[in-house]
């Protein structure tokens, strides 16, 4: 189990983390979601003992990462945002090296290395030099070093960053398959990834946790605020600026000719009538106006705007 209490950190006077607290239960997969620069990697680094916090504590299965680093790190596997690889090494040799660093000895090394090689489908490249591998394979080698000692807690910082769609699907499937055996905390700025893989979601914005809960909790929380999509034939950008002036409408956004907007709580019943009238009167050419199912994206945009 993983426990983080009141974590705070600043760099050169800028507060990067501000009173971060959360808990991850054993066997759970938790998604740590935030825009670039929200404080995800800083949190992960502190969590794994790579850097320190100004305040607060991190406990991994009851062991404080600062006071008892060896006991805490023994339960930890970390895949940082930049894979910690020695590119001049051969894949197998590197994984054996990681296993030895984590205290595996004797036959245990060969057994565990064989297990992770097959789990991550690395057998075909096990005798190749890491520097000559594709990005997808390198990411898998990095994941292998995090898994080789069978850690109880697995911390994955943007594991699918920079991979092609096939590789992304493979890594996601792999992470899902690890659920139950490992407690996983996965950071990402890709919403669909977190939505698909994680049981619990934590959204961080400017160093503060702004939402926390299951995907359904988060979406239900927003039900009082209904959102719509609107597609028009022409001048969508102009329509967006006109919609900004309509009472009861929150943050209209334009994305490839589709406008999405939300109705504020307590908006007048005829607000959508007003929208439709604006479209028709302005000659924008109405193509679609529909109630939109809530997604994590809506939650994310709402809490980080």
């Amino acid at each position: 189990m993983l426990e983080i209490n009141s974590l705070a950190k600043s760099f050169g006077g800028v507060q990067v983390l501000n009173d971060i607290s959360f808990k991850v239960e054993e066997g759970q997969i938790v998604g740590f979601l935030g825009a670039n620069g929200a404080g995800k990697t800083t949190t992960m680094d502190i969590l794994c003992g790579c850097s320190g916090a100004d305040r607060g504590e991190v406990k991994i299965f009851g062991h404080d990462i600062t006071a008892e680093p060896l006991a805490a790190k023994a339960k930890l596997g970390y895949l940082p945002d930049i894979p910690p690889l020695h590119t001049e090494m051969v894949v197998r040799e590197f994984i054996v090296f990681a296993a030895k660093l984590h205290g595996l000895r004797g036959d245990k090394i060969a057994t565990r290395v064989a297990e992770v090689l097959s789990k991550l489908e690395l057998h075909s490249v096990e005798h190749r030099i890491i520097g000559n591998l594709s990005k997808g394979y390198r990411q898998r080698v990095a994941l292998a070093q995090a898994l080789v000692h069978d850690p109880k807690v697995l911390v994955l910082d943007e594991p699918t960053e920079g991979l092609d769609p096939n590789q992304i699907v493979h890594i996601r499937e792999l992470i899902k398959s690890l659920a139950g055996q490992h407690t996983i905390i996965l950071s990402s700025h890709i919403l669909s990834e977190v939505e698909q893989v994680c049981e619990k979601i934590i959204i961080i914005h400017k160093g503060t946790i702004v939402r926390e809960g299951t995907y359904h909790n988060l979406v239900e929380e927003m039900e009082s605020e209904r959102s719509y999509i609107l597609r028009v034939e022409r001048n969508a950008a102009k329509l967006v600026s006109e919609l900004e002036g309509v009472d009861g409408i929150a943050v209209p956004r334009l994305e490839s000719n589709t406008i999405s907007f939300a109705l504020r709580q307590g908006a007048a019943a005829d607000t959508t009538d007003k929208v439709a009238r604006k479209v028709l009167d302005g000659g924008f050419g109405l193509r679609e106006l529909a109630l939109k199912a809530k997604t994590l994206e809506d939650v994310f945009f709402q809490v980080t705007k």
Partner: protein, 258 residues
């Protein structure tokens, strides 16, 4: 609890092998041996000249030990270039490529990491030094040197190198820029080399001068090159090495709070 030496050895072995997986390892051997060979050759030439002229000049013929004293003292200058090249990557490269996180997140003490990296560098330089002993073999075959004095001189160089490596690794641990690590290591090693010459100017005599003279490499190496191994000199090198390894440990361990 796992014996930490196993981890230290794991790290040392990896670093040692990686040293020779790039042309860098070979380049270090090449430059050290080329420079040392050049010095040996030119000193030998003037040594033979002086020996031939000695009867005519009515003076004493120079001793082989004097030739080696000159050679060892000049090796000190070669080391100013070689040591920073060996240690610059030690931590700086891992800091830059972020592979340092592999070591930092493993359940190992920072001192095991420091000792592992130090041991790797020491093994590389010991091999370099060993390969340069071909000069000793050459002299033993064609001359009649005092082997004891030569070995004492080599021991002095080994002590000097082990201290210089500790300083280089400490500087490398504070940066992610290998070039900076190289330049600063060279600067510090150079200062320690010339300290006995500038001690008088810096301190104006008295206790301060004695202290600066004691801190300089020169005197301690000079004794061993002459064939004099004293506890005082060995203690100097061992203490200085331990201090800089401790500093490196502090730099690494402080990441928990920084």
């Amino acid at each position: 609890m796992r014996p930490s030496f196993a981890v230290t050895w794991t790290i040392a072995r990896r670093d040692f092998v990686s040293f020779f997986s790039s042309p860098k390892g070979m380049a270090i051997f090449f430059f050290f041996l080329i420079f040392m060979g050049f010095f040996f050759h030119s000193f030998l030439e003037s040594f033979i000249n002086m020996q031939q002229r000695a009867p005519a000049m009515g003076g004493h013929a120079p001793q082989l030990e004097q030739l080696f004293r000159a050679l060892f003292n000049n090796t000190h200058f070669i080391l100013l270039l070689i040591i920073p090249a060996v240690t610059m990557a030690s931590f700086a490269e891992e800091n830059k490529s972020h592979s340092i996180r592999l070591l930092l997140t493993a359940p190992i003490r920072p001192i095991s990491i420091v000792l592992g990296k130090y041991l790797a560098a020491l093994m590389v330089m010991s091999l370099v030094l060993l390969s340069s002993m071909v000069i000793v073999l050459f002299t033993a075959k064609y001359g009649n040197p005092d082997i004891g004095v030569l070995l004492s001189g080599y021991l002095g160089l080994l002590f000097l190198i082990s201290t210089q490596l500790a300083i280089g690794i400490w500087i490398s641990s504070m940066t992610k820029n290998q070039f900076l690590a190289f330049m600063f290591t060279m600067l510090v090693l150079f200062l320690l080399l010339i300290l006995n010459w500038i001690a008088q100017t810096l301190s104006g005599g008295g206790m301060m001068e004695d202290l600066l003279m004691y801190l300089a490499f020169w005197g301690h190496l000079e004794n061993m090159v002459k064939g004099l191994i004293t506890v005082k000199d060995v203690a100097y090198f061992v203490c200085l090495t331990s201090v800089f390894l401790f500093f490196t440990n502090v730099v690494l361990d402080s990441r928990r709070w920084r």
